[in-house]
C-alpha cells in the first residue's frame, strides 16, 4: 500500500505552477467461484489496478484514467487529464481538498486470513451452500447458481494540496439463487451472507434464506388492486434508503433537482424517522476512514425526528454551498472523478420486531422483493412505483403469497406515512442498513 501512496504522491508532485493535481490509484484482487449441479461452473481469479488523475487549472477541471499502473501509462494519463482541463467551463468553486484537521476514524476493515484462505476451501463453501439449499426443502427443484466471491482492495489518494490517504479492505460473500417448484409452477428466491473474512460467513443463514424466499412464494396469486399498509423487509428497505440518499445529496440540492432543496428545518418525515450517514461505523458495509478525496469520513445527521437537518457534501459542492465538506466524496473506482454520495445510511431503530409490527397493523402486505427500481423510481419528481412480491398480512400474521404486483407512492408521502421502524437494524451490502419499515397508504396494483 505504501507503494500505491508513493505512486499517487509522485504524480501529484508533477503539478506545474498554477495547477492542482490529484491522483487516485487502486489495486484489487478478486476470486469468484460459481457452482452448478455439484460442479464448478467457473472459477476466476485476477488482480486489476488503475489510476485516475484530476487536473485543475484556471478554474477548470480535467480527468483521465487508465487500467494500468505502468509508469509510461501513468504519465500519459496525467497528460491527457491536463489536456482535458483546457475545455471545461471555469468555476470559482473548483479546488482540490486540503488537510482540514479532522482526524480519521481508526477502522480495521482488512482481514489477513482472507489471503491465506485456500481456493479449495472457497469452492467447498459454495458447494456446501448449494447442497444445503437443495436439501432445505423437497420443493427446491434446482439451484440456478451458488457462488463464493471475495476481494481485497487497496487504494491511495494524494494531491498537490497536501492530501495523502490510504484505505484498504477485504470482503467476501456466499450467495445462492434457488428455484422452487410445485406442479407447473416455479418460484425463485435468493439468499446470501457477507463478511470481511470467510470466518464471518454464515452458510446456514444464506441457505435458509434462499429456501424460504423461494418456497414461500409458491401458490402466489395476483391480488386485486387496493390501498394497503406495506411492510418492507429489511433488504427492501435498504433499497429505499439508497434511493433517498440520492435526494439528500448536496450537489443535487445546489443544482435544483432535489425534493428537499430549501427545506432544512422543516418536517419532511414522520417523527419516527431519524436518518444518519455514518461511514465511521465499522459494522457498515460501506465503512471507510477516508472519503474519495482523502478527507476523513464523519457522521452526518440528515433527518432528526422527522426534521430535515442537512445534506452531504464533497469539497466542490461544499464550497458552492458555503459549508465545509462532510467528507462525502465518493467515486466509482479509478474510472471517475469524485462525486457526492452516502456510504452508510441508517435509520434510528424503533422498539418493535417485524412480528410485533405486523401484529399491530393487522392488515397489510409484507414486501420481500422488489424489481424495476431503476426504471420506476424518479428521485427528482419523487414518483415511486416498483414491482413487488411478498405475502399478505391478515389478522397480524403472514397469509397468502402474492406476485406480479406493484407498490407505488411518492418519496415525499412515503416518508410522512412511515408508521413503524423496526428494531432489527442489519447492515447489508450497499450504502444503507436494512430495517423493517412500515408505510401506510401505498397503492398496490394487481388484477
Amino acid at each position: 500500500m505504501t507503494e500505491l501512496l508513493e505512486l499517487a504522491s509522485r504524480v501529484a508532485g508533477w503539478a506545474r505552477d498554477g495547477e492542482q493535481v490529484e491522483a487516485y490509484v487502486s489495486r484489487r484482487s478478486d476470486t469468484d467461484v460459481v457452482i452448478y449441479g455439484g460442479e464448478i461452473e467457473s472459477l476466476s481469479s485476477a488482480t486489476s489496478e488503475g489510476v485516475g488523475v484530476r487536473v485543475l487549472a484556471s478554474g477548470r477541471q480535467g480527468f483521465a484514467y487508465a487500467g494500468s499502473l505502468d509508469p509510461s501509462v501513468v504519465e500519459e494519463t496525467l497528460a491527457e487529464a491536463r489536456d482535458n482541463a483546457g475545455f471545461g467551463t471555469p468555476d470559482e468553486h473548483l479546488g482540490l481538498a486540503g488537510p482540514e484537521g479532522v482526524a480519521a476514524a481508526e477502522l480495521d476493515l482488512w482481514r489477513d486470513d482472507l489471503a491465506s484462505f485456500p481456493t479449495q476451501a472457497k469452492i467447498d463453501l459454495a458447494l456446501e451452500l448449494e447442497r444445503r439449499v437443495r436439501a432445505g426443502d423437497p420443493r427446491i427443484s434446482a439451484v440456478e447458481s451458488s457462488n463464493y466471491g471475495d476481494g481485497a482492495s487497496e487504494s491511495a489518494v494524494a494531491s498537490s494540496t497536501g492530501i495523502a490517504a490510504t484505505t484498504r479492505r477485504t470482503g467476501c460473500h456466499v450467495s445462492a439463487y434457488a428455484l422452487a417448484g410445485e406442479g407447473d409452477e416455479t418460484q425463485t428466491g435468493g439468499g446470501y451472507s457477507v463478511g470481511r473474512s470467510p470466518a464471518d460467513l454464515d452458510i446456514g443463514e444464506a441457505a435458509t434464506d434462499a429456501v424460504e424466499r423461494s418456497t414461500r412464494l409458491l401458490g402466489a396469486r395476483k391480488p386485486p388492486s387496493a390501498r394497503v399498509t406495506v411492510v418492507l423487509d429489511n433488504r427492501v428497505a435498504t433499497t429505499l434508503l439508497a434511493v433517498l440518499a440520492g435526494t439528500l445529496n448536496g450537489e443535487s440540492v445546489l443544482k435544483g433537482r432535489s425534493l428537499f432543496a430549501n427545506r432544512v428545518g422543516e418536517e419532511v418525515a414522520a417523527g419516527a424517522v431519524s436518518l444518519v450517514e455514518d461511514p465511521t461505523n465499522p459494522d457498515a458495509y460501506g465503512a471507510s476512514a477516508y472519503d474519495a478525496e482523502g478527507l476523513a469520513c464523519r457522521p452526518v445527521v440528515l433527518i432528526s425526528d422527522g426534521v430535515l437537518q442537512g445534506f452531504v457534501y464533497n469539497t466542490h459542492a461544499g464550497r458552492r454551498a458555503g459549508v465545509p465538506s462532510t467528507g462525502s466524496a465518493v467515486r466509482a473506482g479509478f474510472k471517475s472523478a469524485p462525486g457526492v454520495g452516502c456510504r452508510a445510511l441508517s435509520l434510528a431503530p424503533g422498539t418493535e420486531s417485524q412480528a410485533e409490527i405486523m401484529a399491530r397493523i393487522g392488515e397489510g402486505l409484507l414486501v420481500q422483493g422488489v424489481s424495476g427500481v431503476h426504471s420506476g423510481v424518479n428521485p427528482v419528481s419523487g414518483d415511486f412505483s416498483v414491482g413487488a412480491e411478498g405475502l399478505m398480512i391478515r389478522d397480524g400474521e403472514l397469509a397468502e403469497p402474492v406476485r406480479e404486483i406493484t407498490v407505488a407512492s411518492t418519496i415525499q408521502r412515503m416518508l410522512r406515512d412511515v408508521v413503524a421502524v423496526g428494531n432489527d437494524v442489519t447492515w447489508l451490502p450497499g450504502s444503507a442498513a436494512g430495517v423493517t419499515l412500515a408505510i401506510a397508504g401505498m397503492s398496490m396494483s394487481g388484477a
Binding site: I40, E49, S68, L179, S225
Partner: protein, 466 residues
C-alpha cells in the same frame, strides 16, 4: 493487437495441463466523455482500458484469469492461472494453428472519435443546453444536463479451435435530461441517441432536437396526473417500447437460462408462445444500430436470428459453451462487458416486426387505457417470466383519444401472458433512437431494440390513482 505467434504460444500454455478448450480475448478500449450540468461543462474525461482475458475449459468447468499486462510473460502467467483454475489432470502438449477469419463489419465508421477536436464535443453540449432552455415554454425549465460519450473498442479473439478474429467498433451516445418545475413539483424529461457510429452521427442527429424532445417531455409531465392503478389495455408507441420484448421474452430465450431450466420458455421450441402477431428477431448485423458488431466476444460472426415467428418459438440465443454442449452452432450471442469478464449469452438488437394495422386506428379502437410514448428500463425474472418496465412518457386514452399526461410509473406483467395478449400490431416499425445498456449478472453491454405501435389487452399499471 497481438502477434498471432504470441497468441498461439499463450494458448499452448493454457492447454498444457489438459484443457479441452482455451481462448484468449484481447481488448483495447478508449473512451472519452464530456458532461454539461447546471450550465457548465463540468469536465472532460478520457479513459484507456487494455488487457486480455483467458479462459480454459475442462469438462463443464471454466477457469478464467485476466491481465492488463500484455507482454508475453504477462499472458503466460494469466494462461497458467486460468489453466490452474480449470483444475485438470491430463497433460500433454497441444499446438494450435490459428486461421484468421474475417467477418464483414456491419458499418464502417467515417470519423474516429480520437480524431475529433475536443471543442467540437464541448460545442454539442453547449448547443443542447441552449436549445433546451430556449425551447417553447422553457420558462419552467430549471435544469439541464447533457452528456456526450464515445467508445472505440478493438478486440481480438484466438482460441484452440484455431479461430483468430478481430473487430473494431466505435460507439457514440448523446443524451439530454431536462428538469422542469411547476405547481405540482419537479418533473424530468430525457432523450438520447446512441449508434455504433463515429462522430459522423452528428451529420444526421441534431442535438437541438434531442434537447427539445427532452424539454417537451419534462414540460408535458408538469400537468401529469397520477397513473392508474390496476390492469388496463396499454398501447405502446413504436421504438423504445421494445424493452417490453427484451424483458418479456428476450432474457428467457437466452440459452444459459434454458440449459438450467430456469426459463419459462424451456423445452417449448415449436410451440405457440405468443399471439400470431408476434415475430421477434435478434440481429447483431444491423448496420449502425447500438447493439451491432462484426464478431461477438467469442469471435463468432454476428447473425440475424428469428426467435419467434408468427407466435411460434423457433430458437433460442446461443454462446459458444452452450452451443457446444447442444452440438449446434453458436448464434453469435456470446458477449462480455470487458476483458475482465467471462462471456455469456446476451442479446444484440432485439425487435418485433411490423404488422399491417394503422397506429392511429389502434388508439381510436381503444376506449380506455394507457398510451406509452416513451419507456425507461426494465427487469425480468426469467424463471417466472414476471417483468417490469418503466414508462417515462405516458398518457391516458379516453374514448379512443390520447388525453392527459401521466406521472412516471412501472408496468408489471408476465412474459408469456403478455405475448399472448397482443391483439394489434401496426406497420410503423421503428428502432429506438437511444439504445440501452442491458445488465445481467453484473455485466452491462449495449443493446438495441425496436417495434411498431402495438396494443396489449391488459397490463398492470403501477400508479396511484384509484
Amino acid at each position: 493487437m497481438l502477434d498471432p505467434a504470441v497468441l498461439r504460444r499463450t494458448l499452448s500454455t493454457a492447454l498444457r495441463t489438459g484443457g479441452e478448450f482455451a481462448e484468449v480475448f484481447v481488448e483495447d478500449k478508449r473512451t472519452s466523455s464530456a458532461r454539461l450540468d447546471d450550465g457548465r461543462v463540468e469536465e472532460l474525461t478520457s479513459g484507456r482500458d487494455r488487457g486480455a482475458g483467458i479462459r480454459v475449459v475442462v469438462g463443464d468447468t471454466t477457469g478464467f484469469a485476466h491481465t492488463s499486462d500484455l507482454s508475453e510473460q504477462g499472458l503466460e502467467q494469466a494462461a497458467g492461472a486460468a489453466a490452474a483454475a480449470a483444475r485438470s489432470g491430463g497433460g500433454g502438449v497441444r499446438t494450435v494453428a490459428l486461421t484468421p477469419t474475417s467477418a464483414r463489419r456491419p458499418y464502417e465508421p467515417r470519423i474516429a472519435p480520437e480524431d475529433v477536436a475536443k471543442p467540437r464535443k464541448v460545442d454539442l453540449l453547449l448547443r443542447a443546453d441552449h436549445a433546451a432552455r430556449s425551447a417553447s415554454g422553457a420558462g419552467a425549465v430549471k435544469q439541464v444536463s447533457a452528456a456526450y460519450v464515445d467508445a472505440h473498442r478493438r478486440i481480438q479473439v484466438a482460441n484452440s479451435d484455431g479461430l483468430l478474429a478481430a473487430d473494431d467498433v466505435v460507439r457514440t451516445r448523446f443524451g439530454v435530461t431536462a428538469v422542469a418545475v411547476g405547481d405540482t413539483g419537479m418533473q424530468t424529461g430525457y432523450e438520447a441517441v446512441a449508434r455504433s457510429m463515429g462522430f459522423e452521427i452528428f451529420d444526421d442527429v441534431d442535438v437541438d432536437e434531442v434537447a427539445a424532445k427532452a424539454t417537451a417531455r419534462a414540460l408535458a409531465k408538469l400537468a401529469a396526473r397520477p397513473a392508474p392503478s390496476g390492469k388496463v389495455p396499454v398501447v405502446i408507441a413504436a421504438g423504445r417500447g421494445a424493452v417490453l420484448f427484451h424483458e418479456a421474452c428476450g432474457h428467457g430465450l437466452e440459452a444459459d437460462h434454458i440449459e438450467k431450466r430456469s426459463s419459462v420458455y424451456h423445452g417449448r421450441v415449436g410451440e405457440m408462445v405468443a399471439s400470431p402477431h408476434v415475430t421477434l428477431v435478434d440481429d447483431g448485423t444491423m448496420g449502425s444500430e447500438w447493439g451491432a458488431f462484426a464478431i461477438d466476444d467469442e469471435g463468432r460472426p454476428a447473425q440475424r436470428n428469428v426467435l419467434i415467428e408468427n407466435g411460434m418459438l423457433t430458437d433460442y440465443m446461443w454462446d459458444f459453451l452452450r452451443s457446444r454442449k447442444a452440438a449446434r452452432p453458436s448464434s453469435g450471442n456470446g458477449r462480455r462487458q470487458s476483458y475482465q469478464d467471462l462471456p455469456m449469452v446476451r442479446m444484440t438488437n432485439t425487435y418485433l416486426l411490423g404488422g399491417t394495422e394503422d397506429a392511429d386506428e389502434i388508439v381510436r379502437q381503444t376506449p380506455h387505457g394507457v398510451y406509452v410514448a416513451s419507456m425507461g428500463g426494465g427487469q425480468v425474472t426469467p424463471a417466472t417470466g414476471d417483468f417490469v418496465f418503466g414508462m417515462t412518457e405516458a398518457y391516458l386514452i379516453e374514448d379512443g383519444e390520447i388525453t392527459h399526461p401521466l406521472r412516471d410509473a412501472n408496468l408489471i406483467g408476465n412474459g408469456p401472458a403478455v405475448l399472448r395478449n397482443i391483439d394489434a400490431v401496426a406497420g410503423d416499425f421503428a428502432m429506438a433512437s437511444s439504445g440501452g445498456m442491458c445488465g445481467k449478472n453484473g455485466q452491462s453491454v449495449p443493446v438495441g431494440m425496436g417495434q411498431p405501435t402495438l396494443r396489449i389487452t391488459g397490463v398492470t399499471v403501477g400508479g396511484t390513482a384509484r
